[in-house]
Assembly symmetry: C2
Homo-oligomer: 405 residues x 2
């Protein structure tokens, strides 16, 4: 077995909740050493989410923190904070997602870190960014999403919009942070220079606008992108259709797929019909086309039968799977998209698998989520070179905390 890709990198992880821990989760899954500092006495906030197995072990914490080392320190204690600062000398990267300004108030702003480790990379993750008039506002995924214009593009035009009940902005922001870190390390390796990285959910959401910003600006404000329901705005047909048994089906039948769709639904007469043969023309008759497709779908007793016909004609389509269905979908199982893990305390359950696949590493690393403060001793003694007596003194003083879950 090769050493993992990021072997030799050491990360000091001051993050909590979702975006920050996703950043360091990506790095630990590729073999970086991640030392997670958790605030005494209780540890990171997510240790109290999704305690589903009749005891205090959080499935949420496990999902986000497998493979990390846990050091639980009283950060309001002078000695505790000094230990964390001392760790900076021994790491390549510090990642934090406090509210902007807090890390500097703790005496660990970028300049302070540079003073102890000149080539340090500090990655700051936040909702609205480290600068600008809104940066001081309290932020969450959906707050950034609202400011980005993304929320405005979900739902029907005459009703309030919807929010996707997944952590899509937080998770993507964590991945953006991991990318920025590896780029900054490549630069550090060549030049010896550290950097401060500023990664915001708002910026991340905003660059997901494929067409919207350029359409508005490029048309000099003539085109104002707005939510238009369950169907793509610029081509047709493309969207979510209701089939039999309340099963919904996503179908992409635009451009060259139109003729395949026509063949699938037995309307070859429309494939090259001069009133139907371009997306622009079809957009003018969208309700009619949606109705035609849904009538066809509902002529089958079962949506899966209709999907088979669409697939036989090579029409891009998919059943809208519920979360429960995804867990049992063979394709997701075979690829490890859904992955079963076993935690020493909470037992066996499923989580989303690591989303990157590397040919030299066909099997994911065996990683275990830490107990609270599990690595206090290892980090203090092996990384910081403290004595066991010093460790015991700090434990007795409550500066370091350990718990069996």
């Amino acid at each position: 077995m090769n050493e993992p890709m990021l072997a030799g990198l050491r990360i000091l992880d001051l993050t909590r909740a979702l975006a920050g821990p996703t950043c360091t989760r990506m790095l630990v899954e590729m073999g970086a050493e991640v030392i997670k500092v958790e605030p005494a006495p209780g540890g990171e906030m997510t240790r109290y989410f999704a305690q589903l197995r009749g005891h205090e072990r959080s499935l949420y914490y496990i999902q986000q923190n497998r493979g990390k080392k846990s050091v639980c320190v009283d950060l309001r204690n002078r000695e505790g904070l000094a230990l964390v600062k001392e760790l900076v000398q021994h790491v390549d990267v510090v990642v934090e997602n406090f509210k902007p300004g807090v890390i500097a108030e703790m005496g660990m702003g970028f300049e302070a870190l540079q003073a102890v480790k000149p080539d340090i990379v500090l990655c700051s993750i936040s909702a609205l960014g480290q600068s600008g008039p809104l940066s001081g506002k309290p932020g969450y995924d959906y707050i950034a999403q609202a400011y980005s214009g993304v929320t405005s593009m979900i739902g029907d035009p005459d009703q309030p919009p919807y929010i996707p009940l997944v952590g899509i902005g937080d998770v993507s922001t964590g991945v953006h942070g991991a990318l920025a870190i590896l780029a900054a390390l490549r630069y550090r390796d060549r030049t010896g220079r550290g950097q401060h990285l500023d990664i915001g959910l708002l910026d991340v959401y905003y660059h997901c606008h494929e067409m919207n910003v350029l359409l508005y600006s490029g048309s000099n404000g003539q085109t104002e992108p707005r939510r238009t329901g369950r169907h793509v705005t610029y081509v047709c047909p493309a969207g979510v259709f209701r089939a039999s048994g309340e099963r919904d089906v996503t179908i992409m039948g635009f451009l060259h797929h139109w003729k395949d769709l026509c063949a699938a639904i037995g309307r070859q007469d429309l494939a090259a019909h001069p009133d139907w043969d371009t997306d622009a023309k079809r957009l003018t008759r969208r309700p009619e086309i949606i109705s035609m497709i849904e009538t066809w779908l509902q002529s089958f007793a079962d949506a899966d039968e209709a999907i088979k016909v669409l697939e036989a004609h090579n029409v891009p389509c998919a059943p809208v799977l519920s979360v429960a269905e995804t867990v049992n979908e063979p394709h997701l199982r075979e690829r490890g998209t859904v992955r079963t893990i076993t935690d020493r305390v909470a037992g066996t359950f499923d989580i989303p698998g690591f989303p990157l696949r590397f040919s030299d590493f066909p099997e994911p690393l065996a990683l275990e989520a830490p107990l609270l403060g599990e690595h206090n001793a290892a980090v203090l003694i092996e990384v910081l070179g403290k004595s066991r007596a010093e460790l015991e003194r700090l434990q007795a003083a409550g500066v370091l905390i350990e718990k069996p879950c």
Copy 2:
């Protein structure tokens, strides 16, 4: 000025549409050299999208391909394909997002690339992945989203779901690909080993499930995550609320924010009330709470006035901005989240800015989108060492194409 972070890296870019070009866009924005191969005679498909300025220059193509070099080659011609293969010897990374299997049919599968460049990194981006029973299906963002269970989590429970009208899966997948590439290069630099990377939208969407997969599995199937409308499922209040003038406002008033929200709306009596003081209790009276908040919001003539009161009480909140509004929002302008660029053909317009911020590079690189085949000569002569006579022969034969837009 320092050399940019990824100076010295050279990428062969065979991608089209959104996910693949976003991957190489991230790399070029950090200073990698990206050689984009476009199929003769017309070039990449997106050159025909969003031609908004009265001529054939595509704003979409510009947004996604600034800074890349364009080589336009007839890939169905033996000599043309040979040129592309020859380029592999001179690059660090090849990125492609053809349908799985196509790159191998072109004679450029991973083993074939390794034969000419043993430490090559090949990044393959697709909708459903390179392996598994569904990998052969034609794929788009929304197809992967449907299979991932993400679509099922957007909308009302008794209606078909909605799709966000942004490129969130494609863009995030491109960023995941860029992260995988930098990790693989770090490993290559240490070990001399190339790799084949398999990045799928389905895997990317799936790991955005923050709570859903573990709640289903961790509860042994007792909890089935489903879409529940405009409000977060597990805490309350948190979601999208309608204010005056059809303005929608996102408010996060759960946990410790509840008492601040109560103060903001003049209901301090509920802050510590034993029927309202936890998220679990508030979830049981969600319709009542939504109604109370919306009534309060609508008591203001203007949503902005209500937002000021919420902000004064430190309640996380945001107006749901339309895309048109984001373009003029001072915070987004100040941070460069929305960025004005000038193209030599299409003129001046706005695009989403590069989402990563680095302290050593406060200004984004000046990048220009290529004309079709603009770099045919530069790449053939400077990279491949061909003669000008050879270049002219290939141009005359139509193997290489150039166009002034």
